[in-house]
């Protein structure tokens, strides 16, 4: 008899366990139930709309975001915003995993490197200009200084898919003290060509015995993505390209790529001016061991101030034989809306995005983020800024790196090719054709994977 009783206890326990495993979404919310049940209750009324917004962590902007979101919710009581800040190092991973599981945010901030993949995967909703407070897409473009080139980063087939939260481009910073030690003045001597950069860098390089203790200039070798942001524009200046993002043609085995690539590899080998074996260029510049650095945006200034670097900012060099007048490549962050979200949620998300992108001055002064709204560019804040006019001038004639699928993988292939020559000592003439084939294959597969 007792055994039977025990049996029942076990059966009940098992049933509980099973129920626990199979519990649907709503039931599982014991711990975070407050929110979950509130959501369920309100959406049933058909009034409250919940918008989840994901933002990568940029500490100076958080307070401003929170304040503006609160204002937005006060003005739009039917919309509730869940604002989630995610550390930069985990942001891409989390966004991808969440999208894979169909649980991505409704509105998210993401940069141009990811946009090609997102667009090709049909997860981006086209901009709802009316909801964001504009007459149409053209009005949005007109609202931004340099809108034609800057909004090209989020345009596909003449349609916009987002609103910018930050435009950025790298410029070259000089460590004025190191220049002075070499008897040079950045204000007059800063090179305008890559050829000239080599001469200046040679004068700024300091040897101690056999080792270099101070470099004049060095590329940023640390992350393959810089092959897009630093290397690609060099190729474009010469009239060539790596990948064309409209027809996906690949031109790695070309004289333009060869010229840029030999410049990089000579830099590290023949000319012995730097290379991947040294401390990364940003860290080296902040440590006062590098006289010129070209992978900081305007956001680098506070770090330089903190490191007590006496800096000045200059436009990036071009080739003597340049045929295009672009500087380094542009990149930008945009608010984008998840095409999988409910239509009314999407509309609310665009409304929120339109609202949050109408405070360029606040975001610039408090968080150093540049949005190029015409009104703001004409304001005194912008005009009197010590660096921004130089950045904007560069932006107006520069291009975005191709917004292709497999952006990261192609960057790795490029960096791999570079390192085969620089570190492995292989012949550029062998490496480039092979890399051309490799990148072509990467793109073909990536497109095939997406059913295109």
């Amino acid at each position: 008899m007792r055994e039977r009783k025990q049996l029942w206890v076990w059966v009940a326990l098992l049933a509980l366990l099973l129920a626990g495993c199979a519990a649907p979404a709503g039931d599982a919310g014991g711990i975070d139930s407050g929110q979950a049940s509130a959501e369920a209750g309100q959406s049933a009324d058909g009034e409250q709309i919940d918008v989840t917004l994901w933002m990568h962590e940029h500490p100076p902007r958080i307070a401003l975001d929170e304040q503006l979101i609160q204002q937005f919710m006060d003005e739009n009581p039917q919309i509730h915003v869940n604002y989630e800040v995610i550390p930069v190092s985990e942001y891409d991973l989390k966004l991808r995993t969440a999208m894979a599981a169909g649980s991505g945010p409704d509105l998210f901030n993401q940069w141009t490197a990811e946009i090609g993949q997102f667009y090709a995967s049909d997860i981006l909703a086209p901009l709802n200009a009316a909801a964001a407070g504009y007459a149409d897409d053209a009005a949005v473009v007109a609202n931004y200084d340099g809108g034609e080139s800057l909004m090209a980063g989020i345009m596909f087939d003449d349609r916009l898919y987002g609103l910018p939260t930050e435009f950025s481009i790298y410029a070259c910073y000089a460590n004025d003290d190191l220049w002075a030690e070499a008897g040079l003045d950045p204000a007059t001597d800063f090179p305008t060509t890559w050829e000239g950069l080599r001469d200046v860098a040679e004068q700024l390089t300091v040897h101690e015995d056999d080792t270099i203790v101070q470099r004049g200039f060095d590329f940023n070798w640390t992350w393959p993505g810089f092959m897009w942001l630093q290397f690609n524009p060099q190729v474009t200046q010469l009239g060539g390209y790596i990948v064309n993002d409209s027809d996906y043609s690949v031109a790695v085995d070309s004289p333009e790529v060869a010229q840029a690539m030999s410049y990089w590899t000579n830099w590290a080998t023949e000319w012995d001016l730097g290379g991947p074996q040294y401390l990364g260029s940003r860290d080296a510049f902040l440590a006062g061991e590098l006289a010129i650095e070209c992978s900081f945006g305007n956001w680098g200034v506070p770090q330089m101030e903190e490191a007590n670097i006496n800096w000045s900012v200059h436009k990036a060099p071009r080739w003597e034989a340049a045929v295009n007048d672009n500087y380094l490549d542009l990149y930008a962050y945009y608010f984008m809306v998840n095409a999988q979200s409910d239509p009314n949620v999407q509309e609310a998300a665009w409304k929120l995005a339109g609202y949050l992108t109408s405070f360029p001055e606040e975001y610039f002064t408090e968080a150093g983020l540049f949005q190029s709204q015409v009104d703001f560019v004409n304001s005194d804040t912008f005009k009197n800024d010590p660096v921004m006019p130089i950045f904007l001038e560069q932006m107006r004639t520069s291009q975005f790196s191709p917004r292709i699928v497999a952006w990261n993988e192609v960057a790795e292939a490029l960096a791999g090719a570079r390192d085969r020559v620089v570190i492995g000592g292989e012949d550029l003439a062998d490496v480039l054709p092979e890399t051309d084939v490799e990148i072509t294959r990467i793109l073909e597969r990536a497109l095939a994977d997406l059913g295109q």
Partner: protein
């Protein structure tokens, strides 16, 4: 006499060698603790610095709490570890007992099935498991964080080994006395399993406390982030300077609970490790 002298000499040499080995292995830990008291600007320099030159007291620790909700990370890690330990020990003991002391159809097949899950690289499970947790509605919650780690194949295996050592006579005696199976398990088997259960508990605590990949993926909100994941934020330096001294302070705090376990339960600790053949 001569012999004794030689022994003494030998022993001193052994002590010296052991001292060298111990210092070699202990030093980075010591350095971690020292650096946690150092001023941020002194962490890297061009001089050999071991003891803090600009002693900060607990300021780095304080700063860590200001930068990130460390207390919350701590609670999450501890909560997850404790729940994992309780469930793992109980259910693994139960399963181990079942596999060791009952004959039923398919027993070996089921046991091999559980054992084989030990060989699966976690990366293969990551996405499918995440999708599944998402479907259950458990993503970004304690449920998603904790439930997939509640049981452990190694635990089942270990408990079965120890249950095999329980004499059948003892169990039969219980049955003859009219005790139910559950009572036999609870009153006879479990008390005999205390030592291995303690070892298992410590191992599971360690694994859970140190778990990195799954919490990294499954949780978004700060309220559910665990220590190992929260820690990496201090060392990342994208568009912002990493904070090494504070990172060392958090590292020390993350290691203290394990240190306590080690000091107070060294025997079980060592046994658990020796049995599991795996570090966290």
């Amino acid at each position: 006499m001569n012999m004794r002298l030689r022994d003494g000499l030998n022993q001193s040499i052994l002590t010296l060698i052991a001292l060298f080995v111990a210092i070699l292995f202990f030093f980075p830990i010591f350095y971690m603790v020292m650096t946690s008291f150092e001023a941020e600007s002194n962490v890297f320099s061009n001089t050999v610095r071991i003891l803090p030159q600009d002693f900060q007291g607990l300021r780095n620790y304080q700063r860590a709490f200001e930068i990130a909700p460390i207390a919350r990370f701590f609670f999450n890690s501890a909560f997850m570890a404790v729940v994992d330990v309780i469930f793992t020990v109980f259910f693994c003991a139960m399963a181990g007992y079942g596999f060791a002391k009952f004959k039923f159809f398919g027993r070996n097949a089921l046991f091999i099935f559980i054992l084989s899950t030990m060989m699966v690289p976690f990366q293969i499970l990551l996405i499918p498991l995440y999708v599944q947790i998402q479907a259950f509605g458990w993503a970004d919650s304690y449920y998603g964080l904790i439930i997939p780690g509640l049981l452990n194949a190694f635990g089942v295996f270990m408990m079965r080994q120890f249950c095999l050592g329980i004499p059948d006579d003892l169990i039969d005696a219980g049955r003859i006395d009219g005790a139910g199976e559950l009572r036999i398990f609870w009153n006879i088997a479990l008390p005999l399993l205390t030592a291995p259960a303690a070892s298992l508990a410590i191992i599971i605590f360690l694994w859970s406390w140190n778990n990195f990949l799954w919490p990294l993926v499954v949780v978004q909100s700060q309220e559910y982030i665990t220590l190992p994941v929260g820690l990496t934020v201090f060392a990342q330096g994208f568009q912002r300077q990493p904070m090494w001294a504070a990172a060392m302070a958090v590292s020390v705090m993350a290691t203290i609970p394990i240190m306590f376990l080690f000091i107070f339960f060294q025997r079980y600790f060592v046994e658990g490790m020796a049995l599991s053949g795996m570090k966290g």
